[in-house]
């Protein structure tokens, strides 16, 4: 389903992951969705923290594991942060206002989105965080759909992101 193109970067510290995330902030439009995958502790919430800081969110970003959804006021538009780890079945997505939120006026980050792959939107950026060795994080980015492909292109073109084209293998 993805465009096949994959970009990666290996960061050496939480700050490195946050810095990478920060470079994405200028390019997102309202309605963009970023799905974050990776094991517990891989740095998904850190990624959102780095993004949010550059996006002008003044509040502290915390994990929405219990609340399922946390909303922040960004400089340009809202930031929605989902964590679907605790959700039991896809039918509950409707109950938490998932579809109306991801299709609305903000940028949405979804942790554990791959648990409900069918419920992900028409177009989204898929970011996978792996831990190749202690302290390091391998960040892989793919796009699904046209809008996300365009977003990924401009982001990867920003030299500060230091994203490298890769073969596309996971």
């Amino acid at each position: 389903m993805g465009s096949g193109l994959c970009y990666t970067r290996t960061t050496n510290s939480p700050d490195g992951t946050k810095q990478l995330a920060a470079t994405l902030a200028p390019y997102v439009h309202a309605g963009d969705v970023i799905v974050l995958d990776g094991d517990l502790g891989a740095g998904k919430t850190q990624f959102v923290q780095g993004f949010a800081h550059a996006f002008g969110v003044l509040e502290q970003i915390v994990s929405p594991t219990f609340n399922l959804l946390l909303t922040y006021r960004g400089e340009r538009f809202p930031l929605y942060h989902f964590d679907l780890y605790r959700l039991e079945e896809a039918a509950q997505l409707e109950d938490i206002g998932f579809y109306e939120t991801i299709d609305a006026d903000g940028v949405t980050f979804i942790e554990w989105g791959s648990r409900f792959a069918d419920a992900m939107p028409y177009s989204y950026l898929r970011i996978t965080l792996n831990v190749p060795e202690e302290g390091k994080r391998q960040v892989s980015v793919r796009s699904v759909g046209d809008r996300a492909r365009q977003l990924l292109c401009v982001w990867a073109n920003d030299s500060k992101s230091r994203l490298m084209k890769s073969s596309g293998a996971e």
Binding site: G31, D95, G97, Y99, E100, I102, D103, Q150
Partner: protein, 835 residues
């Protein structure tokens, strides 16, 4: 906005503003609005009754940014004010009914119901897709128009229109399809133009049609694709878009053609008026109670249920409310019984078991059965099936066992099928009935259907079929098929004192209304419970709750007013629960209350639901006064609150995960018992040994006043699974009693701690769980031992009700604390912060 200056006027004209609104002051106006999409469209039109024409005199279009609830009434207020018209000039309300974002449509519909109910004016719902088509028509688009509205989750609401010089003619009914299917449909049908807000997301998909079918679709490259689409068309002029339909290529219409506009809404409404399907002056036909949003699909919970039971049996979740007859969607395991009944009552044209089973699980079919509970199991005593085709429900079967006839079962089944059909986009129903079956024809006439014609020799035995047609069974929509409970202690002629306040509560699964007078007397207190609709799912389904509130709100408020023997014009304020609770449910109450308060030009009072539960103790003991420690335990809350004074509260501790009521429901579900879990478990527990199983007492020694129920719930469920795994018979009474005791032990220990900590000499209960007899006994013991006064609200006031909201509202009214027209609903709100 309304706040302070309104207070004086509200007190000044207490009970004296009952002059009937007259239309003499000006021409009749239609108030039109739509918030189905990301924009708010609002307008005011002059109505020419003789010519059946409407003239738009003011309009506004604004981005909603998901906040139409905060902006809609201010925009309406502004428009009316700018044109110098008064609310009494509004002769009717026209409201976009979707399909579109559910929350958006609900805000528009609930606001419209509030305004129309309070002014006693007709409410005419208009399709938001029609409004888009008519706006395109007004901008000069002609030919075949394909309107695609974003239905989210990769889906689209498609509709076809033929636009000629005279009008925009609708060619297809409301439905929902996958985005790719809509695209395929468009490729096949070759529209002249495509409009609608789905283009924002699927613009690139549809742009292929624009390039024409002859050209091989090229890969869109970098620049100008995706999001750029909107920009690319910014320069497109109206003339350009007017010159359409030249061959096979379709024109993708730009931004201005994507959301409903006031003009589009007005033209669509005017057209319906001309055609006779709308009448802005017919209150009976367009009573605000009747208006409903267009959904085109069931809630996810219901859809999954249908898919599941098409293959297997239904979960054994009795409603626990009524031991008699239960209606539920037909499941696979019931098919043999249905087929047997079918062959007994339908004779030669009976369907076989396989034929019936094949119907289940299809998206456009609706089957319900009626069951009679007997000690030996459930017995099928009736069934009904229907097929939704192009906006019409075709009734396939209605059968009731002879012994069970004349008890309203067929009507009930037809009502359930109608409800679902309405949710799937149907408005009318049709069926064939044997010409000789006069009883059946009489029945269908009684539900509002009429004979349309005869199909000769339709049945296999040669008998003719009578074709009957009518609108979907509408009676249930007034109170959404719910039973209304009411407590009313006042005689008709008692003297009532101002202020009179209508209070509305929709925070969870009960739609409630109450009227209170200046003496603090509840003139009425009515509750419509949705419990029957959630029982099958073992818990409250938020989407169903929201839909039921929309159906019921107008009727419930009317009932509340009627029982108090007052009318909207007698009111001095309207109060509503604004938080905490299910947002989708709260939104309905807030939008309705705002619409009604605005229409009457009286203050709006927002009430915190939890504070309502604190005030409910006044109903248990008139002399009740703070300071006190209150335990609030319900399906959504578990907390200890220190009431220092009225309006001054401190939350001492609350649950860090599940609420107690939630834990009862989940344990009941795991045990295969009914819903709600509270009463079922407490009844079972009376027969069990509370010390049989040692379940964990979470946070008993945490040293603070917080609670945790999640671990206990998991422990019970694990225990059940373990017992089942080793083949042990479950001792339900012992499990129920032991679970309940674990809950009570923690509640009592924390309550004792809270009393010591605060030194309060009064302890009270609130919330639905306060109805649990064992818990009440434990508190009685605790308070007797500590010489603390115990106040418990009457059982009927433990659950959610509007009476308690009214009690808070009266204090707020006296303090002059009102909400503005930009008020909204919130899932969370702290009791500790004044509002």
């Amino acid at each position: 906005m309304v706040a302070t200056e309104k207070k004086a006027s509200a007190e000044a004209d207490v009970l004296e503003k009952a002059q009937p609104p007259s239309r003499h002051g000006g021409e009749p106006l239609a108030l039109l609005f739509d918030t189905a999409n990301e924009t708010i469209a609002c307008g005011i039109a002059r109505l020419d009754r003789r010519e059946k024409k409407a003239h738009l005199v003011a309009s506004a279009q604004k981005m909603a940014h998901r906040a139409s609830n905060t902006q809609l009434i201010p925009i309406i207020d502004d428009l009316l004010h700018t044109m110098g018209a008064s609310r009494e000039n509004i002769a009717c309300v026209v409201c976009g009914k979707g399909p579109g974002s559910f929350t958006g449509v609900r805000i528009a519909m609930a606001t419209a119901k509030g305004v129309a109910s309070a002014l006693a004016r007709p409410l005419v719902p208009v399709s938001s897709l029609d409004a888009v088509a008519w706006e395109a028509w007004a901008r000069g688009v002609r030919g075949r128009l394909f309107v695609v509205a974003d239905a989210m989750r990769h889906e689209i609401y498609p509709a076809w229109f033929a636009l000629d010089e005279a009008d925009a003619h609708r060619e297809s009914a409301d439905r929902v399809v996958k985005a790719e299917e809509a695209f395929d449909e468009a490729r096949l049908m070759a529209p002249s133009a495509i409009a609608g807000d789905a283009l924002a997301k699927y613009g690139e998909l549809f742009s292929e049609l624009e390039r024409g079918q002859e050209h091989a679709p090229e890969q869109a490259s970098g620049q100008g694709s995706g999001q750029g689409l909107g920009d690319a068309f910014e320069g497109a002029s109206e003339e350009a878009s007017a010159a359409l339909s030249d061959g096979s290529a379709a024109v993708i219409l730009p931004d201005a053609y994507r959301a409903p506009t006031a003009r589009g809404l007005m033209l669509a409404f005017e057209n319906a008026w001309r055609e006779g399907s709308a009448d802005p002056f017919d209150f009976d036909r367009f009573h605000p109670m009747r208006a409903l949003p267009a959904y085109t699909r069931l809630s996810d919970a219901e859809e999954n249920e249908r898919t599941r039971i098409a293959k297997e049996g239904a979960q054994n979740l009795a409603t626990g409310v009524d031991g008699g007859i239960v209606c539920r969607p037909l499941s696979r395991e019931m098919c043999p019984e249905v087929a047997a009944l079918e062959s007994a009552v339908m004779g030669t044209d009976a369907w076989s078991e396989n034929l019936v089973a094949d119907e289940l699980g299809r998206k456009d079919r609706i089957w319900w059965c009626a069951l009679s509970h007997t000690p030996s199991g459930d017995e099928v005593i009736g069934y009904a099936g229907g097929w939704v085709v192009d906006g019409e429900l075709q009734i396939l079967k209605v059968g009731v066992a002879p012994a069970w006839r004349r008890r309203g079962i067929a009507r009930e089944l037809l009502a359930r099928v109608s409800d679902d059909a309405r949710n799937l986009g149907a408005e009318r129903m049709t069926l064939e009935v044997r010409r000789g079956n006069e009883g059946a024809q009489k029945f269908y006439e009684n539900v509002g259907m009429s004979a349309l014609g005869v199909r000769p020799r339709y049945y296999s035995d040669g008998e003719d079929a009578c074709i009957m047609q009518g609108t979907l069974l509408a009676e249930r929509t007034q109170i959404a098929g719910m039973d209304i409970r009411s407590k009313n202690g006042l005689q008709k002629d008692s003297q009532v004192h101002s202020p009179l306040i209508l209070a509305i509560e929709t925070s969870c699964d009960e739609t409630a209304a109450a009227v209170i007078d200046g003496e603090g007397r509840l003139l009425s207190d009515v509750v419509a419970s949705q419990i029957d609709f959630h029982a099958r799912f073992g818990g409250v389904v938020p989407e169903i709750a929201s839909r039921k509130h929309i159906e019921a709100i107008s009727g419930v408020c009317e009932e509340g007013l009627a029982q108090a023997h007052v009318s909207y014009n007698d009111l001095n304020a309207i109060a509503v629960t604004y938080a905490p609770g299910l947002v989708g449910a709260l939104v309905v109450g807030v939008a309705f209350a705002k619409g009604a308060a605005w229409a009457l030009d009286i203050p709006l009072i927002g009430v915190n639901h939890l504070e309502g539960h604190l005030y409910a103790n006044k109903l248990g003991d008139e002399g009740f006064a703070p300071p006190a420690v209150v335990s609030l335990v319900s399906g959504g809350n578990t907390m200890l609150v220190f009431m220092k004074d009225w309006g001054d509260y401190e939350t001492l501790g609350s649950t860090i995960d599940d609420a107690v009521g939630e834990a009862f429901d989940k344990v009941a579900k795991a045990l295969g018992l009914g819903y709600p879990g509270g009463p079922v478990i407490s009844r079972l527990a009376e027969k069990g040994d509370p010390s049989a199983i040692d379940f964990p007492r979470a946070m008993l020694h945490s040293g603070d006043l917080r609670f945790s129920l999640s671990g206990l719930k998991t422990a019970v469920i694990t225990y059940i699974q373990q017992q089942k795994a080793v083949g042990n018979e479950l001792n339900l009474p012992d499990i129920a009693a032991s679970f309940q005791q674990a809950v009570i032990d923690v509640q009592i220990a924390k309550a004792a701690r809270a009393l010591s900590q605060t030194g309060a000499k009064t302890f009270c209960l609130g919330g639905g769980v306060a109805a649990n007899p064992a818990l009440r006994r434990a508190y009685e013991e605790l308070c007797a031992k500590r010489h603390v006064k115990l106040v418990m609200p009457p059982l009927s006031s433990c659950g959610d009700n509007a009476g308690m909201i009214a009690l808070v509202a009266l204090d707020r009214f006296r303090q002059g604390k009102f909400f503005g027209w930009d008020a909204d609903a919130y899932a969370h709100a702290s009791l500790d912060e004044p509002y």
